[in-house]
């Protein structure tokens, strides 16, 4: 009962500090619950949808010409395979929608109302329609990510270019296609009516003899692992490739890889936010530690009096423990409720990228378990922090308490007439450094994360950084026809030079080639010296050399100096790994070789050309000229950001950065308010003295704010240093999932100055506002009657 009475009184007396702790805990819980729930929802919805549409464990996308009965039988009868489902389709390599060229390969599948092929979004994109209307003549259902990829709307046209003329469709609706419907996947499944499929499209498919195929008959073979098989998805794929050679004939994608690619951004965004939340949790601990220490210091006399009245240290510690735990518990419970709109917000960000319906369920059990863990850690922390109560001597407390004692500091700066407020603020800081250490640590954590996110949000902009991620910087893109040969390149560039000097050119091809039986994306450059993202070793200069990414190196267990067997459409060759590089292509699961090296496997042409102009603004003129002069060789277009991170990703990164900025500012607000409140109580007498000497409220508030400005500047400097030391490592770890294994931060003054200036401004402003209480300090309080 006695403890309850004290608890009530303490909560009332310390409500400011306890509310601050509750608010911080609310932010941490809300952020954690929102991120966990959003990620869980997408993961669950995606898996459920895959189950509903009966996606195979492994899907082989194969041309009609290679889908022989012999191969299909081999697959069906493989001991690892349970069953196989064949989905016939037409694959388009050239299409235009909403006036934009479709960069994905598109597979056309005939709508079948008897089986669940996809889910159809309602017009608002907020749910599914219960009955899917069959597409009519000339109508098409496209994945939801088309809205983001090509700004498509219902009613837009989707035109397939075939060698027998264009075939236009009208977009009837957007679908959730849970296998390849995500933003990052290079193949997209679209659905048309059976009539259109058979009568309009099938007749326009190219014969196998056509070299430049635009529309081909293909199969999507859904292969299911035998029930009870213990093989991992990777092992299943390897085993099947070994026995049937499927990788030599088509593109394979496992269900698990599709999930990985679809949720890639959720995982990156989630990873960043999890690390951020973890650091926020540390901030809560620092703030609580500071609050408890100053609380004990300020209540020193009262605690001594209570001890003299028979309260044991244990009871007093319990008192502190309960009041902070109550505040945290309250914040955590409220945080769960507050997270609901944020789950929706994150869903809104990720739905266009994943193409999966965002739902708003809360992962309550998981979050509550995590929160219990957090509260447990905080409880232990509280127990440790309150040990000081045991050292309070009633006699010492009653005879004057713990007066604030300041010590001489080596950092002591002189007090001068010039910049008097600043020098006094500096003195306040230097004479009581320990008290501010926690605040500096908080600023450094926030600054670190804000700088890191600013770096990440801007990282795709500089060309040098793009190149270091395996991208190709160019102003004009060339889609090369079959008739293109490298000797034509000089002629083409000579014509370009008439309009603008050519800064650089590169001719490439991309295809899936199997390494030791497993298929990976291979980048082929005419000039291997142009691989600029080599991390170790050297470029693949010779005919028997390749370079691989670190991710691929880990996956296949091979590194520099090792040899591998490459196979493509039945041809094989032994190659030496000459280097490791990084590339975001296929999320880092790729390798590269020179055009000469590729000739061991296939005598294929180059498909893509990249021209970098000295006068970028003339790209349009160059494109017009090329399309006019070389229509049989190529189709030129002004560079569109297809290799790098698109607008959507930039937008999502910016959104995460804004979220981190917003949460950081909220934290600053709460922390400043709390620290200011404590400092104000502690320095009330000094404030009164300064007022009695003739300092105005304004100048005292300025002193207060300047002190926080000094703190934030120091914290920002520490955060910047941390960023210089750890940012590359942290981002490399987080971005490994997209293929970046060696993130090199392009530190610019603006990426450091913008967040640190914001932090310092917030600290200065918030502390100035929080110091309004200075106005209420009466000099009368110095009177001893």
């Amino acid at each position: 009962m006695d403890i309850l009475t004290l608890l009530k009184a303490n909560i009332k007396y310390k409500k400011g500090a306890l509310i601050s702790v509750a608010v911080l805990m609310l932010i941490v819980t809300a952020a954690l619950t929102a991120v966990i729930s959003a990620n869980d929802n997408f993961g669950r919805n995606l898996r459920d949808a895959q189950k509903s549409v009966d996606t195979g464990d492994l899907v082989l996308m194969i041309d009609e010409k290679y889908a022989t009965d012999e191969l299909l039988n081999k697959i069906k009868t493989d001991p690892t395979v349970g069953r196989m489902r064949d989905v016939k389709n037409l694959t388009s390599f050239s299409a235009v929608t909403n006036g934009k060229e479709v960069t994905n390969r598109t597979t056309f599948i005939a709508f079948n109302e008897k089986e669940r092929q996809f889910f159809l979004f309602n017009k608002k994109g907020t749910g599914f329609v219960t009955t899917i209307e069959a597409p009519g003549k000339g109508e098409i259902y496209v994945p939801f990510s088309f809205q983001q990829l090509y700004n498509c709307k219902i009613g837009n046209t989707f035109t397939i270019k075939t060698n027998h003329g264009d075939v236009p469709f009208r977009i009837k609706g957007f679908i959730e296609e849970p296998f390849t419907g995500g933003y990052f996947l290079g193949v997209k499944q679209v659905y048309i009516s059976t009539d259109d499929y058979n009568k309009v499209l099938a007749g326009k498919a190219d014969d196998v003899s056509v070299i430049e195929q635009k529309l081909t008959s293909s199969h999507m073979l859904h292969i299911y692992q035998k029930t009870g098989s213990t093989l991992s998805p990777g092992e299943f794929k390897r085993e099947l490739s070994k026995s049937s050679g499927i990788s030599d004939y088509g593109t394979t994608l496992s269900k698990e890889d599709a999930i990985g690619y679809t949720l890639i951004f959720n995982n990156i965004g989630g990873g960043i936010l999890y690390v951020f939340i973890l650091l926020l949790f540390f901030i809560v601990l620092i703030v609580m530690g500071h609050s408890i220490s100053t609380g004990i210091e300020m209540d020193y006399v009262n605690l001594g009096v209570l001890k003299s009245q028979g309260f044991t240290s244990k009871k007093l510690r319990l008192l502190f423990f309960l009041q902070y735990l109550l505040a945290e518990g309250l914040g955590a419970v409220l945080g769960i409720f507050v997270s609901i709109p944020f789950v929706r917000l994150l869903g809104g960000i990720f739905q266009p990228i994943t193409g999966i319906l965002a739902t708003t369920e809360l992962s309550l059990v998981k979050c509550l378990l995590l929160l219990a863990g957090i509260l447990l850690i905080e409880s232990l922390f509280l127990l440790v922090k309150t040990t000081r109560i045991g050292k309070i001597s009633p006699v010492r407390a009653i005879s004057g308490g713990l007066a604030s004692i300041y010590f001489d500091s080596r950092l002591k700066a002189p007090i001068g007439k010039r910049a008097l407020s600043l020098s006094l603020a500096l003195r306040q800081f230097t004479s009581n450094k320990r008290q501010y250490a926690g605040t500096i640590a908080i600023v450094s954590i926030l600054a670190y994360f804000m700088i890191s996110m600013t770096v990440l949000a801007n990282c795709m902009l500089p060309e040098s950084v793009q190149e270091s991620f395996g991208g190709v910087v160019h102003d004009v893109a060339l889609a090369l026809n079959d008739s293109f040969q490298m000797d034509k390149a000089k002629e083409i560039e000579k014509e370009i030079e008439k309009i603008s000097p050519v800064k650089g050119s590169l001719y490439a091809n991309y295809k899936y080639i199997a390494i030791n039986g497993e298929e990976y994306n291979c980048v082929i450059y005419d000039d291997p010296e142009q691989f600029k993202s080599i991390l170790k070793g050297r470029a693949p200069l010779y005919q028997n050399e390749i370079i691989i990414t670190e991710i691929l190196s880990d996956e296949i267990g091979k590194s520099i100096g090792d040899t591998v067997i490459l196979s493509y459409h039945g041809k094989k060759g032994e190659y030496l790994i000459s280097g490791l590089y990084q590339s975001m292509r296929d999320l880092g699961k790729c390798f590269a070789m020179s055009l000469a090296a590729q000739e061991q496997l296939a005598e294929e042409r180059l498909t893509d050309g990249y021209i970098q102009l000295a006068e970028k603004e003339k790209a349009g003129d160059v494109v017009s000229m090329l399309n006019e002069k070389f229509p049989s060789l190529l189709k030129a277009s002004v560079s569109k950001d297809e290799d790098g991170i698109g607008d959507m990703i930039q937008l999502a990164l910016n959104t995460i950065a804004i979220t981190i900025y917003t949460v950081s500012i909220l934290f600053i607000l709460v922390v400043v308010n709390m620290v200011c409140g404590k400092m104000f109580l502690k320095e009330k007498k000094d404030i009164g003295i300064y007022k009695a000497l003739g300092f105005t409220t304004r100048s005292l508030r300025l002193q207060f704010a300047l002190r926080f400005l000094i703190l934030s500047a120091l914290g920002s400097a520490a955060g910047t240093l941390m960023c210089l030391l750890f940012n590359n490592r942290m981002l490399s770890m987080l971005l490994r999932t997209v293929g970046i294994t060696n993130f090199t931060t392009d530190f610019r003054i603006s990426t450091i100055l913008a967040p640190t200036a914001l932090i310092c401004t917030c600290f200065f402003l918030f502390s100035y506002l929080a110091s309004k209480k200075v106005q209420r300090v009466e000099i009368r309080e110095l009177i001893t009657e």
């Binding site: 300041y406 007090i415 001068g416 007439k417 009695a692 003739g694 009177i783 001893t784």
Partner: protein
């Protein structure tokens, strides 16, 4: 005829208390003269400190006015009052109230720096002279917590006079000191008064009261008695004490 340095007219100060009003100062009319060492005495709770703080503008008045150099300072806003404290008025507290993280030198200098009319170098010179005069030069770099109470109070007096104020207010300046330190501080104040410094001090210490050239007695929020004395001479302390004692007895002290 002495010059008036500060006047109170109909000065009242009341506090709300148990639903009613507690009148601490009750329509006080008072003039403080230039060059005087005015000491206000009275029983505990008679309102001595309140009178001092209200007249110095450190506390607001409920009614009435305080006039300084023709200006009603009871109507001053914070900025003007701050300006007054920066140069015209000096203040010494019972509990010294030095800023704990500033050295004695800095505590004195900060007040000087605040005064825009005194150049920084001049402030430094004055502070050095004052600390020398107060015998604080050896400990000028020490923090308040590193010196004795008497030394702290001497530093507080130095701080109060560094801007050469027209009037020095002192609230029980010896109240927290031992006998030896009390005498030191009183000697200092007497010396300053002899050099022309006007002082208004409240005390209930007889020893301190002996230094006055004008004694006022406050009772129930009103000035009920006044005694004028010649400037203090140490040799006449005994007879002075008898005189003051008799006067205080007549005031029912």
């Amino acid at each position: 005829m002495k010059d008036i340095i500060l006047s109170a007219r109909g000065l009242c100060k009341s506090y709300a208390h148990n639903g009613g009003q507690n009148h601490i100062l009750n329509h006080i009319d008072l003039d403080i003269y230039k060059g005087d060492f005015t000491v206000v005495m009275g029983a505990s709770g008679s309102g001595k400190s309140t009178l001092l703080y209200t007249m110095s503008g450190m506390d607001s008045a409920t009614a009435g006015k305080v006039i300084y150099q023709g200006n009603t300072i009871t109507e001053f806003k914070e900025d003007k009052l701050a300006k007054l404290r920066q140069g015209d008025f000096g203040f010494v507290f019972q509990q010294m109230h030095l800023v704990s993280n500033l050295s004695l030198f800095e505590n004195v200098a900060v007040t000087g720096y605040l005064n825009k009319n005194i150049p920084g170098a001049e402030v430094g010179k004055r502070v050095k002279e004052l600390l020398e005069k107060m015998g604080l030069t050896p400990m000028s770099k020490r923090l308040p917590s590193q010196v004795s109470g008497g030394e702290q109070q001497r530093a507080a007096i130095a701080r109060a006079v560094v801007n050469r104020p027209d009037l020095l207010f002192a609230d029980e300046p010896t109240g927290a000191l031992n006998r030896k330190n009390t005498i030191e501080v009183l000697n200092l104040l007497t010396e300053l008064n002899k050099e022309g410094q006007s002082i208004l001090m409240v005390t209930h210490d007889m020893k301190a009261a002996l230094r006055a050239t004008r004694l006022l007695y406050l009772e129930d929020g009103k000035i009920t008695g006044e005694l004028t004395l010649p400037p203090y001479q140490p040799l006449e302390e005994k007879s002075r004490e008898t005189q003051v004692d008799a006067w205080l007895s007549s005031m029912e002290w």
